[in-house]
Symmetry: C2
Subunit: 398 residues, 2 copies
């Protein structure tokens, strides 16, 4: 017991106060930039400079080689590993080129092995908790926490028959939800991308602050936003849903049933919602956009507003045949769907071009859609924060 | 763009479906035990065996040495690093001795550098996101998710004048909170230990499931549980609270003011609470227990129920002088405080002995207190889950 308690406090102090360790080891080195807002409490690195460069620093006295591996591209961090340089005390440092504003996943390679940066909070992406760095966008605060009324993000547990297990959904309730106890609200179902989960939209995406700010400015209707994980494996063949054994080979096989038969009914029983399609929206990013189009176009009775952010729509797009003919009757589609929103970033050209071609082909065939472009951003959360801000402001207007 | 999209999907698939990789690499090896419930989606390792042994496995083909470092002691994982053994494909494996049920922090040492296990969810402890493993306790389900009505855990943002920044509190609302819209609830303020934060009690501690189960069985009154971070640095000397610059040298210096002047008033304005001390309880574990005693004994007007779990009460304890004489008038204390709860695990002898000595001295001086012992558990979350279950059932009974 003694052997543990004493070292544990020491270890915690080291983690909690890295500034003092670094300052002690490197008294002469002036420290430029600011600690990233994505850092853990008290961590002085990574530091973000005014021009968007980032200085990473990691204490790894026993490692032979330490690198930074960016978890994306076209964001200024580059694509390959960035070699860090060791100093005499075993701290490894690298300063990057100027980066693009937004949120960038990254991790360390310690002698070639992927590991998170102990100075960074973790964000669930790439199928696991992953380090991330927040680069402020000068003059832009639509996703910042401000002195406006704040909604809550609630973790809610519900049972899904489609997947045979308990699931956790994150649910944003707008600032007036707890005081306007007779009021009913429209609902946006909002899905993450590949490798992420129900935490992504609030943690990486700052969806709650985006909505708080839009609502405070009168730019969006107060709404509930349901952020569940899109991963929905059906029960294992030969088992029942109740057994809880799920088929990991089919990561999204129960998505439609999970959403339409379990999640929507749960939300509409647990929250004060309008219970019909004209007050239901759905959107998703990347893989979540594919799933959004699949379920919303395959079940036209469910959602009146549809948002597809950075859809992996890479092949030929024919409005007559796409999505089992859902667009074939343009007049009927336009009458039924109040908004079909398509968007992408200019720095993710395959997504941007595929999405724009889809939009153009739809317009040509008479199907109305909105095309949104996020200038200068890639297949990353800054694109989707801007997308959500634009999309949410268009919802539930009539 | 192409260079990124293709490898990224491949990488995500690798993370999301490790079972297939492992099965492919190790067809001959029978896989015993069950994936830990603390693993990320789809991760087959670590695996927990029926007798409590754990098999860890990590893919690290380029590392020279990989070890498991337990983040605690007296839990069966040992105290020093456990060496893992490399196979021909670069997977490193170790199976531990039988462990104690509960939640154990751990991390990897990759060539001596601390790193999280990519197969584990992260849990904020040791001042950073940290791997953890859940070992089931046979026949015990008081903290399991069950088919009972569930409350929610809400992330709530509020401004603290004492610390000069925005803070996030986690707030458990009981299952009937949203339907009993006229009902007011008592509140338990519940604090984590050193190196942890507002997420600890729901994530590691499963406080919400403990309360759901107690309430469903009629063993606890429906209550709100507020779980904020105890870390509360005051503004930097020479600055104002409004500037947001905080003094990292004083990690808990603004705790009392943060709690009494900012958090309690915020909770009592944002939730339907009873707004007086007989409906307010406070508890904490380890460092959180010290803070609990500090604020509750220093401000007797604030809380009627006090719980100190695994208090670091190691020195001599004199009821006449301890806590500025708060216990000196036993009759007045007993009339004012409805419950003073003290507890510890039998496998954390210094905490258990110090706490028991405090209890004994208090009894001798006429001050009533309850002493709770968690058999077979150490300075870890299983002790605190049991402590919460015992403590919460005693609250708000009159």
């Amino acid at each position: 017991m003694k052997a543990w308690w004493v070292p544990s406090v020491a270890a915690v102090m080291v983690f909690a106060l890295p500034v003092h360790r670094v300052a002690h080891a490197q008294v002469a080195a002036p420290v430029a930039g600011q600690p990233a807002s994505s850092n853990v409490r008290g961590a002085e690195y990574p530091r973000v400079h005014a021009d968007g460069r980032v200085t990473f620093r990691v204490a790894a006295p026993t490692a032979q080689k330490v690198q930074i591996q960016p978890g994306g591209s076209d964001n200024g961090l580059g694509t390959g590993p960035l070699d860090m340089v060791r100093d005499a005390t075993g701290n490894w440092t690298v300063t990057t080129a100027p980066t693009v504003p937004g949120f960038h996943y990254y991790w360390l390679l310690i002698d070639g092995v992927a590991a998170n940066d102990p100075s960074s909070e973790t964000y669930f992406g790439w199928g696991r908790p992953t380090s991330g760095i927040e680069i402020p966008e000068p003059g832009v605060d639509f996703y910042a926490i401000k002195d406006v009324p704040h909604g809550a993000v609630r973790a809610q547990w519900y049972q899904s028959k489609a997947t045979g297990n308990w699931r956790r959904a994150y649910v944003y309730t707008p600032p007036d939800y707890d005081t306007q106890t007779k009021k009913r609200y429209p609902v946006l179902y909002l899905f993450h991308g590949m490798g992420e989960d129900e935490r992504g939209w609030s943690s990486q995406g700052k969806a709650n602050f985006i909505l708080d700010n839009l609502i405070a400015e009168g730019k969006a209707k107060p709404m509930i936003v349901v952020m569940d994980t899109a991963y929905a494996s059906p029960p294992m063949p030969g088992t029942t849903a109740q057994s809880g054994a799920r088929d990991p080979r089919s990561q999204f096989g129960a998505f439609d049933d999970m959403l339409l038969k379990d999640l929507v009914p749960y939300i509409e029983s647990a929250f004060r919602t309008h219970k019909e399609r004209n007050h239901r929206a759905i959107a998703g990013l990347s893989r979540g956009a594919s799933l959004t189009l699949q379920v919303a176009l395959g079940h036209p009775e469910a959602f009146a507003y549809i948002g597809a952010m950075s859809t992996p729509q890479f092949g030929a797009f024919d409005p007559a045949t796409a999505h089992n003919g859902a667009f074939r009757d343009a007049a009927a589609f336009n009458a039924r769907v109040k908004l079909l929103w398509l968007g992408a970033g200019t720095m993710e050209p395959r997504f941007r071009e595929g999405t724009h071609a889809m939009h153009t082909a739809l317009e040509k065939s008479g199907v109305k859609s909105v095309f949104f472009e996020s200038v200068g951003t890639s297949h990353e959360w800054q694109t989707w924060r801007r997308s959500l801000s634009d999309f949410a402001a268009r919802l539930f207007r009539d």
